[in-house]
């Protein structure tokens, strides 16, 4: 078990290094850099070309933008390891400052979405399998297919429309009521957020919840058809014991191992929803940074998100190993 954890840990570090490199290269790939964007902007504003040149030169010296890409990468990676996320050239603010609250909110909402997905999908999927072809099964099959097929931004738009036209709401979007948006964190602000957050969880998590219901149902059906379930039945066990003690722990396996994969899906899925509902999440910021070729901000966001993903995967693997003796013994 210890070697297994160690192995996973080393793999995690390797993945992080590769991701840092790749994300840096991808952001660097498109022709031009921030300086071209900047000088274009300044030209449009009819700024004196001399001023433009000196400004550009200043930036170039400050960030070593003229130098070789691997030197830039090295500088960036080194400072990142020291905790310095770099400086957003677009916003003229430190990247960490920009990310700060948005990042923690994003991670918080993602985890909450995962929990929501788990708590809703697993019991529904399980019951659908146990009561296969019942009214319960049919209705949730219908709902799940609907949830899988409707994109989350449509759900978000429909939700916006309904709450404005039917409920006459004025503040439908956002994570906070207007009076709390800029306020300091307080108990009242937290409670206000809880009032708003459930609908976001629902919109963001709907697609994943729906597909998880289908996966859980299919897995449970497979597991219930296994010979060892017959063995359990022949012991005289009750239905509940068979379903929970024998079938559930086998059926739930792929759902746990997919948690690591769901995580980035939730973040990218929530980006569109966040744009529609103007939520202060990390997604829109990343999009912005990519469009503006704001290298350091974009890379920092990517790397932090990857770190979250890799840690999520690591935890999922640990959970699997704890659940399944076959994985434990393989190493």
């Amino acid at each position: 078990m210890r070697t297994y954890i160690l192995q996973r840990f080393i793999q995690m570090i390797i993945v992080m290094i590769v991701v840092m490199l790749v994300s840096f290269i991808i952001v660097e790939l498109p022709p031009g850099d921030f300086l071209t964007t900047l000088s274009e902007q300044l030209t449009e504003q009819n700024v004196d070309p001399k001023v433009i040149d000196s400004t550009v030169e200043m930036y170039r010296a400050r960030y070593g933008l003229g130098e070789n890409w691997f030197i830039r990468f090295g500088k960036w990676a080194w400072s990142l390891m020291k905790g310095d996320m770099g400086y957003s050239m677009q916003h003229n603010r430190p990247a960490s400052e920009l990310m700060g609250e948005r990042l923690s909110l994003t991670i918080w909402i993602s985890i909450a979405t995962l929990v929501f997905m788990f708590v809703v999908a697993v019991p529904i999927g399980m019951l659908s399998a146990i009561k296969q072809y019942s009214a319960w099964d049919h209705s949730f099959t219908f709902l799940a297919l609907l949830g899988v097929s409707v994109p989350s931004f449509i759900t978000a738009l429909v939700f916006l429309l309904l709450s404005v036209t039917l409920l006459g709401a004025t503040t439908v979007a956002g994570l906070f009521s207007p009076e709390y948006v800029t306020a300091e964190w307080s108990w009242a602000k937290f409670v206000d957020m809880l009032k708003h957050v459930w609908i976001i969880l629902f919109i963001v998590g709907l697609g994943d919840t729906a597909s998880t219901i289908r996966v859980m149902r299919a897995r449970m059906l497979d597991t219930l058809g296994e010979p060892y379930i017959d063995t359990a039945r022949m012991k005289g066990l009750s239905g509940a014991k068979i379903y929970f003690r024998h079938a559930l722990r086998v059926a739930i396996n792929p759902i746990i191992s997919s948690i690591g994969l769901r995580f980035p899906q939730i973040i990218s899925g929530s980006t569109i929803v966040a744009i529609v509902l103007t939520l202060p999440l990390i997604g829109p910021l990343l999009l912005d940074a990519l469009l503006g070729e704001d290298v350091y901000l974009a890379c920092s966001i990517l790397v932090v998100l990857t770190l979250a993903l890799v840690i999520g995967n690591f935890l999922a693997d640990l959970a699997l190993a704890w659940l399944d003796p076959r994985i434990r013994f393989e190493s």
Binding site: Y228, D230, T231, R233, G236, P325, F329
Partner: protein
């Protein structure tokens, strides 16, 4: 009808009728089955797959999901701790049914590999059963589980308690499952093909265990199997089932000595036994088990029966031939009245000429016109390589075991470890051994489907032997034209998305032997050669039955007119009657086309039936090599003896070898030192652990080799010798 049976019966099924409804309509899978099991009795329920055996015994304990199943009629009386109980009526009362399961009646299943929960320890799974039915404290349940594990013969039971399924071999899992089933001392054990998925030596061990536990725990057993040998070995009484009906019921002696129903006779004749005349056609049943919906009216066996009469359109009566022997057949309807109990001896006129003494003997002996190549080749000796089609020398196949982050090599699996073999032109060499012994790897090596790690392979397409050990795949393509291969699973070895014309014709096009309509023509010829219709070219594999698919696979293998055929377990996935048909086909084709053949199988009886010579393989090595019949009469290696003794013969009461090989096949990554068999050998001596015996000629025999230190001293039991002790059969079978 509705009264409980007498208390002597543990189980009494009366007129059970179970139907399944689907979109296609309703089919009756079990159609009026009556069956009973008395105290302490082992009853066998035999028949080919798809005959409703499993549905019948699963109905006893409510394991048939309903819907889609419909229980239309019948009663199932079971002796429980609360007295005789009708279990069909309990289906609505799950609680009462659950109290019976595991406590009064238990069940073991076909696939031990998949019947143990993968994520719970053995101990947890067994104690769970005790705690469900009895009020005991966990410590006592633990002790009883350990005791039970000991009783079923698992080594060091306390250690097994904490182990998981994947740490146990198939045989050990089945033992654990038997312990699980019997821990609450049920009176009846239902065993659904308990040994089908296991190796022959392990099968023999498990059968022995069931027999032993029946005595020690004084229980009854209802055993389902398709293997007549298994019931002959284990059962007291037998019911033969076909398409949802019981065809014949009787004591094991009566059924095997005087099988009355044509279906029973056919089943017995289809089995290649160790006494049959090798290389002759088995008298197989016509056709295959039809779909239930296609079953004939009246007697369901009518369309395959050799004695079919006009009256068979009506449902046959169940005729009491003796006190404990009945058959559902019109043949005995009139004789019953006139001749009384002696009716059993009245044989159908066609089969009348053969002796009644042993059913397995009643094979149609069709001597092959060609002289046996083995006989004259033996005089020429091995050195005469002109007659050899294939020679392999010291061939090995090693797989590295890679571990850790850096995939370091930590060991080697020696799948094949230095094998010498040769196959003469027109000869069939049988390669036999347990699963994991490397026999399939040998087949893949000689066809160069895997790269040999060492050694030489020489093959002569049509003349001189040429080295093919490391020739590039491009050249190998030319050689492959002379090689055909037939695989074990006819479904997965045929591409489901190609029609038969393309499957069989592909080798022709690949080798540029035919194009366009010439392919159709040749494919048609090939299909007719293997007994299919040429017109079926456009169909896809799923439209054919298992046996037909294997015929297609054979047609494909023979498309390029090869002179050499590798058949890797070609019949082990098939029902007995179909197995006989395919073996007959292979024998005919081999004779017609003068094929050399490497015939790989785990069943030494099947191998003996088709082979001229047999090589016995154990853990990557050949341990014995010789004339097929010779090896079975006078085995020189204890492993061969064990294989022979493990085959359950369709002869009730036959004493098998006293000392069965112990344990499982060792890990091929870490084979035992010295003689690899010494860990399981009953004759093991200190020297066997240290020195590895070489394959050397046995005594003064020209063509018989063994790899045992004591082969000249040991007198091992061959199978015909066992037969002589028994009497009747061997005399006819073992003429030398």
């Amino acid at each position: 009808m509705n009264s409980p049976p007498d208390t002597d019966k543990v189980l009494d099924i009366r007129n059970l009728q179970v139907s399944f409804s689907s979109i296609a309509g309703t089919t009756r899978a079990v159609n009026g089955v009556s069956l009973n099991v008395r105290s302490g009795e082992i009853v066998g329920l035999v028949g080919e797959s798809g005959c409703g055996k499993s549905v019948t015994i699963r109905s006893i304990v409510g394991l048939v999901p309903s819907p889609p199943a419909l229980f239309e009629d019948g009663e199932i009386w079971l002796r429980t701790r609360r007295g005789m109980t009708e279990t069909l009526s309990l289906y609505k009362n799950m609680k009462a049914l659950r109290q019976i399961r595991g406590r009064d009646v238990s069940m073991i299943f076909q696939e031990p590999m998949r019947s143990v929960h993968p994520m719970m320890t053995i101990g947890q799974q067994i104690t769970e059963g005790i705690l469900e039915h009895e009020v005991v404290d966990p410590a006592e349940a633990y002790d009883r589980t350990v005791e039970m594990l000991d009783l079923v013969g698992l080594p060091s039971p306390p250690a097994q308690m904490n182990r998981y399924a994947h740490e146990l071999s198939g045989g050990m899992r089945q033992r654990a499952l038997i312990a699980l089933a019997l821990v609450c001392h049920p009176q009846l054990l239902l065993a659904d093909e308990p040994t089908t998925a296991l190796d022959v030596t392990i099968q023999a061990q498990i059968l022995e265990l069931i027999r032993d536990l029946r005595e020690r725990m004084s229980m009854s057993v209802l055993l389902i199997t398709h293997n007549m040998g298994v019931v002959a070995n284990l059962a007291d009484r037998i019911s033969v089932m076909y398409l949802g009906r019981i065809m014949e019921t009787g004591t094991v002696e009566e059924i095997f000595k005087e099988p009355a129903h044509p279906y029973t006779q056919g089943l017995l004749a289809s089995m290649p036994s160790l006494f049959s005349q090798p290389k002759t056609h088995l008298q197989s049943l016509r056709g295959v088990v039809p779909e239930l919906a296609m079953a004939p009216k009246g007697c369901v066996f009518a369309d395959r029966c050799p004695h079919v009469m006009p009256i068979c359109d009506e449902t046959p009566p169940v005729v009491e031939l003796r006190a404990d022997h009945s058959a559902a057949c019109w043949l005995y309807d009139d004789v019953e009245a006139s001749q009384g109990p002696d009716a059993a001896t009245a044989q159908p006129s066609h089969g009348g000429d053969s002796t009644l003494g042993d059913a397995s003997q009643r094979v149609e002996v069709i001597p092959l016109t060609k002289t046996e190549p083995a006989a004259d080749a033996a005089q020429k000796k091995l050195a005469d390589s002109d007659t050899d089609q294939l020679q392999i020398e010291n061939v090995a196949l090693h797989y590295p075991i890679l571990r850790g982050l850096l995939r370091r090599q930590v060991g080697t699996v020696r799948a094949v470890d230095g094998v010498d073999l040769s196959i003469r032109r027109g000869e069939t060499l049988g390669l036999v051994g347990e699963s994991g012994c490397g026999k399939t790897s040998v087949g893949r090596l000689v066809t160069r489907l895997v790269e040999p790690s060492a050694g030489r392979i020489r093959f002569g397409a049509d003349g001189r032997l040429e080295e093919i050990t490391h020739i590039p795949q491009k050249e190998m393509k030319g050689v492959r034209r002379s090689m055909g291969m037939v695989f074990q699973d006819p479904l997965s070895s045929l591409n489901a998305r190609m029609n038969i014309r393309n499957i069989v014709g592909e080798p022709l096009m690949l080798h540029g032997m035919a194009r366009g309509s010439a392919v159709d023509e040749r494919v048609g010829e090939l299909l007719e050669m293997v007994g299919l219709r040429a017109a079926h070219q456009s169909r896809f594999p799923h439209a054919f039955s298992g046996g037909q698919r294997q015929r297609i696979a054979i047609a494909r293998a023979l498309a390029t007119e090869p002179s050499f055929l590798v058949a890797d377990e070609p019949v082990s996935a098939l029902d007995v009657s179909v197995q006989a048909q395919i073996l007959n086909l292979l024998l005919t084709l081999q004779q017609q086309l003068n094929l050399s053949m490497l015939f790989i199988a785990h069943d030494i009886a099947v191998v003996r039936h088709v082979s001229d010579r047999i090589a016995v393989m154990y853990l990557g090595k050949i341990v014995e090599l010789g004339n097929a019949r010779e090896i079975c009469v006078r085995p020189v290696h204890p492993y061969t003896e064990a294989l022979l003794a493990s085959i359950p013969l369709p002869m009730p009461g036959l004493a098998t070898l006293q000392e069965m090989p112990k344990g499982d096949l060792p890990d091929p990554a870490n084979p035992p030192t010295g003689c690899r068999f010494h860990t399981r050998c009953p004759y093991s001596q200190p020297i066997c652990e240290q020195e590895e015996p070489r394959l050397v000629p046995f005594a003064d025999a020209v063509d018989h080799f063994g790899a045992c230190h004591f082969q000249d001293e040991l007198h091992l039991q061959g199978v015909e010798e066992i037969g002589e002790i028994h009497g009747s059969a061997a005399a006819a079978g073992g003429e030398e």
